[in-house]
């Protein structure tokens, strides 16, 4: 295949699909993972409201989900994916397993960001009579915001990697192109271009994340 408009269109479509998958999955990953991360940070023994049983159970479930290799998860989830979005392939079908894989990872990242918040300021808020809810929303999430933003960047990067893997089992996007054209048809050029696009994408995500996180960090 020559480097022409067909190829460019193919890549642009792949890029669009990849961006859709990555951003939507990360969004839903946070919808599920953020509350779980908060729950882990709050119920841990040094947390706002320690609760060993809740912590252990949540911790265990998160670990289990994180231990399943993504490709296996992708296949295991096929019936569930079909049930949720009606199909288990292509861009839409990939969003479901990506979200499920991302959520426990995101929960861990959120948990560790929240644990970085100085216990002294949490205690100060408590001494003013703030409820746990107010402390979680205003102090924990507010004070951890630059860490949380770095976490979003890391999550986007990780999910970008996963999304390329999904190409192997009929997911859409750049990974799919790299595998179908580059790997199965030995069109090395296309594979390299696709990988290059993925690299640039990762750089942009990470760079933007770093800049934003510095900007909202009021501590230094």
């Amino acid at each position: 295949m020559e480097f022409n408009s067909v190829l460019i269109n193919l890549l642009l479509e792949g890029l669009r699909d990849t961006l859709i998958m990555v951003f939507i999955s990360t969004f839903f990953g946070y919808v599920l993972g953020l509350p779980v991360g908060v729950l882990l940070a709050v119920t841990d023994k040094t947390g706002l409201r320690p609760h060993p049983v809740v912590y252990k159970i949540t911790d265990f479930v998160v670990n289990i989900l994180r231990s399943v290799p993504f490709l296996i998860l992708l296949i295991l989830l096929i019936p569930f994916t079909r049930f949720v979005v009606g199909q288990s392939y292509d861009t839409i079908g990939t969003i479901v397993p990506l979200t499920i894989a991302a959520a426990p990872f995101i929960a861990r990242i959120v948990e560790s960001s929240l644990k970085e918040v100085d216990p002294g300021v949490i205690e100060a808020a408590r001494s003013m009579g703030a409820s746990n809810w107010t402390i979680i929303v205003k102090v924990l999430l507010g004070e951890a915001r630059s860490g949380l933003l770095v976490g979003i960047t890391i999550s986007l990067g990780t999910i970008l990697g996963y999304s390329a893997m999904a190409g192997a089992v009929g997911g859409g996007g750049l990974g799919d192109i790299a595998i179908r054209y580059g790997y199965y048809r030995y069109e090395t050029k296309i594979m390299l271009i696709t990988v290059a696009v993925l690299i640039v994408l990762m750089q942009i995500l990470q760079g933007t994340g770093n800049i934003l996180s510095k900007k909202i960090d009021k501590r230094k």
């Binding site: 100085d118 100060a124 001494s127 703030a130 107010t134 004070e143």
Partner: protein
């Protein structure tokens, strides 16, 4: 003086096997300023933390206007609103500017209107000489400024009792005065305060009553005059001596040789 506002009876606080507060009873009257002194590790800070329900207690009781102050009780947040606390390391929220630091509790905890509290916050800031710092972030302030903001943050809740936990211990000497003057001013205004400090001159000036805490007990208590001029116990004499310095007399051991 008038009736007791804070009533501590037979308070016991243990960390595992270590008894930090040992059967301590104290009654604080409205408008009274009590300064708590003692060597490090005597339980001063722990006592203040118990008074704000930040520590669970193993015995006795603490009552604010007759209501129990208990970490585990359901309405502890409501009690804490009435007890202001200022910490040694300020504990301002680093991601909020000065005004937001001050407004958080009255707006989110007391549900007061932001605009109305803002006016009050500005008045208080003016009083401590920091009205020009309302939009600054904590990192842009000196230690003394941060501590004055922390005091304003406690004051805006209109607490019935104010607790100061070694609030100048982390400050450079030239910043100590600006903070202590604010506290002196509050004493003149008739605020009820419990102050843990190592600044003896300040203690002398601000206190109605001085308490020497040793081994988790009130070892000695009295007016500043009594305590500083006529300490009753050997322990308090020793404690006061630790603030004066004298060079050892040089003895030439070999003089006779």
């Amino acid at each position: 003086m008038s009736e007791a506002i804070l009533e501590i009876e037979h308070l016991i606080k243990k960390y595992d096997e270590l008894t930090v507060i040992n059967d301590l009873s104290l009654s604080v009257k409205k408008g009274e300023v009590i300064v708590i002194v003692g060597s490090s590790g005597c339980g001063k800070s722990t006592l203040l933390r118990c008074l704000n329900g930040l520590e669970d207690i193993q015995g006795g009781s603490i009552k604010l206007n007759g209501e129990p102050v208990l970490k585990a009780s359901k309405n502890i947040s409501e009690i804490r609103r009435k007890i202001g606390m200022v910490f040694q390391s300020y504990e301002l929220f680093p991601h909020m500017n000065v005004l937001d630091n001050i407004l958080l509790a009255p707006v989110k905890v007391l549900n007061r209107k932001k605009e109305e509290v803002k006016d009050e916050a500005m008045t208080l800031l003016k009083r401590v000489g920091l009205d020009n710092k309302a939009l600054a972030y904590p990192r842009q302030l000196s230690g003394g400024q941060k501590q004055r903001i922390a005091i304003v943050r406690a004051l805006i809740m209109h607490p019935e009792v104010l607790l100061f936990d070694e609030v100048t211990a982390a400050l450079d000497p030239e910043m100590v005065r600006e903070v202590l003057e604010v506290i002196l001013d509050l004493a003149d205004e008739g605020k009820t305060m419990l102050i843990v400090t190592h600044e003896m001159q300040f203690a002398k000036a601000v206190a109605d009553r001085i308490i020497l805490l040793e081994e988790g007990k009130i070892w000695e208590e009295g007016t500043p005059e009594e305590f500083f001029n006529n300490p009753k116990t050997e322990r308090s004499k020793e404690f006061l001596r630790s603030f004066t310095y004298k060079r050892k007399e040089t003895v030439n051991e070999y003089a006779d040789l």
